[in-house]
Amino acid sequence: MFQFINTLLIGITSGAIYALMALAIVLVWRSTRVINFAQAGQALASTYFGYQALQYIDSFWIALIIAMAGGAILSALIEVIFMRILLKHTTSGAIAGVAPIIATLGLLEIIRTLVTLKWGGADVIVKAPLSNTGFSIGSNTLVFSPMKLAIIAVVTVLLLVFSVIFQKTSIGLSLRASAFSPELARLAGIRVDRIRTLGWAFSGATGAVAGLLLVTNGNGSLSPASLEFSLLLISGFIAAVIGGLESLLGSVVGGVALGIITAFVLMYISDSLFFIAPFVVLLLVLFIRPQGVLGKKGGRRA
C-alpha cells in the first residue's frame, strides 16, 4: 500500500513537470501550428537564467520570475527574428510542411551550444528553496516533500492564471481566435503577429518554470548536456499528444497521466523500461485515440 502511494506521488510530481512542458508546446502549436523542438533548449537556457540570477539574489522565487521573464523574452525573440522569416520563406516547396520542425531542431542545437559556451559544460547547482525531505507518516517517509508540494502548487497556480487569461480576458480571446482562425482574427482587428509573439512569450515563460522545477525536483544539478532536458521535451510532446495538442487542460491531464503510468511501469514491471514505456504510451494513444484523450473529433475546443 505504501509503495502504491509513493509510486502515485512520484508519478504526479514528474507528471506536473511534463504537464508544464506540454503546456509550452501546446501554446506554440496553437499560435503558430509548429511543434517547437527548440523548446527543450529554451527551457535549458531559461533555467540557466534562473541559476545566474541566484548568484546575485537570494530568493529562488524571484529567480524563478526572472527566469520566466528571460524565457519569455528569448521565446518572443525567436518568434520575431526567426519564425517569421522562416514561415515567410517556406510557404511552398517540398519541405514546406516539415521545414519549421527541422529548423527548430537546428535552433535547439544552437541554443545548447551557446549555453555551453557561456556557462561551461560542467554541472552547476541550483539550490531548492524548500526541503526535499519527504513528509513522514509514523515511521514511514513519503516520497512527497515540501518542494514537491510547491511544484504541484506552482503548476496549479500557473494553470489557473492561464485559464483566467484565456477564458476571461480579451487578450485570451485574441490568442484563441488567432490560433483557430488567423484570417478571421485579422478581420476582427486583432494584430495577429503581435498576438502570436505573445503566445510564444507565454510558452517561453512556462518552459522556464518547467526547467527550474525539473532541476529542483532532482538533486539541483544542471548541465547543458543533461539528458533530462531532451527527455523533458519528449515527455512534454507525448503529454501534449495525449491531451490532443489543442487543449491547455488536456496537456495537464496528459502530463499527469504520463507521469503516473511511467511511474507504475517502472515500479511494478521493470526499471529498464524507462525509455520504452513513454513511447509505447504514445503509440497506443495515436492508434486508439489519435485526437487525444480530451480532443473531440472534428471540433477543437480551447
Binding site: V98, L105, I234, F237, I276
Partner: protein, 328 residues
Amino acid sequence: MHKLSNKARIAIFIVLGFVIFLISNRVDELRVYQGATVAVYVVGIASIILLTGYSGQVSLGQGALLGVGGYAAALARLHWGVSVPVSFAIAILAAAAAGALLGVAAARLSGPYLAGTTLALAVGLPSIANQFTFLGGEQGLFYDVGFPPASLGEDFTQYKWFFWIAALATLLAIFWLQNVMRSRYGRTWKAIRGSDIAAELAGINIARVKILAFTLSAGVAGLAGALLAMTIGTVSPSAFPLALSFSLLTGAVLSGVTTLGGVMIGAVTLVAIPEIVHSVVDRIGASEAVATNLPSLIVSALLIVTVIFVPNGPVEQMRTKSKKVKSL
C-alpha cells in the same frame, strides 16, 4: 524533367565508380576511411530524401532504423555466419520490415505527430539492446566483415576494403533509388507531396503509398546501418544516438530533399566541417571550449540558413535558376 536514357545512366555510374576507384588509390588511409564514412552518410541521407523529398513525410528517427539494419547485419553474421552481401540484404530486409510497421503508424499521422513519434523512437529504440542479452547490451556486438582478399596484396588496407564495399553499395543503392523515383511510384509520391487531396482525387491510395515509401526508405537506411556497423566494426546502442538522426536530417536538408542530385553535398559537409573547423581553430588558437562547440554551431546555422533560403536544396535552386535563364 531531365531524362537520361538508362544506358547513359549506367555509363555515368560506371565512370563514377572508376573515378572513385582511382581516388581510393591516390589518397591516404585517413581519407579512405572518411570516404567510407561519406558513403555511409550518402546512403543514410538518400533514405531521408526518398522519404521526405518524395513523399513529404518526415522522420527524426532515421538513426533508429540504421540501428535496426546494423544489428540485423551483425546478428546474421555472428550467429549464422552468412557472407557480407547476405548480411547487407538481411539488414535491408529487417529495417524495411521495421519501416513498414512504422509506416502503418505514420500513414495515420500528419507532420508534427509523425515528427514527434519518430523522435521518441530514436530515443527509445536503441535502449532495447539493453533488454535482451543476445543484443550485447551497452558494449554491443562485433560485426566482422573479414579481411580483404589476399590477392589484393599485402599493402591493401582494411579501410580501403571498407571503402570499396561502401562505395559499391552506395552506387548500387543510388542507382536503384533513381530508378524507383523515375518509376510510377516515384511520380505518385511526388503527387502526394504536392497535395494529399489532389492525389486522392487522382485515385491514389495514399496510405498504401506512404507505407511503401516508409518501407523502402527504411530498407535503404538499413543498408546505411550495416555500412556504419562495418566501418566501426561493432554495433552498440551508443553508436545510434539521437545525434545521428539529427545529422542525417541535416545532411538531407543541406543536400536538398527534392532530388538525389546533391546527395554528396550534405554527406561531405557533415564529414568535412568538423575537420575544417578544427584545423582553422588550431591555427588561430581559439580556446578548447570554442573548438569543441564550433562545428555543431556552424552545422546547425547552415541547416537553418538552408531551410530558410534554399529550402529545396542547392541543386534544385541551381536547376530552377538555369531554367529561368533558358526561358528568358
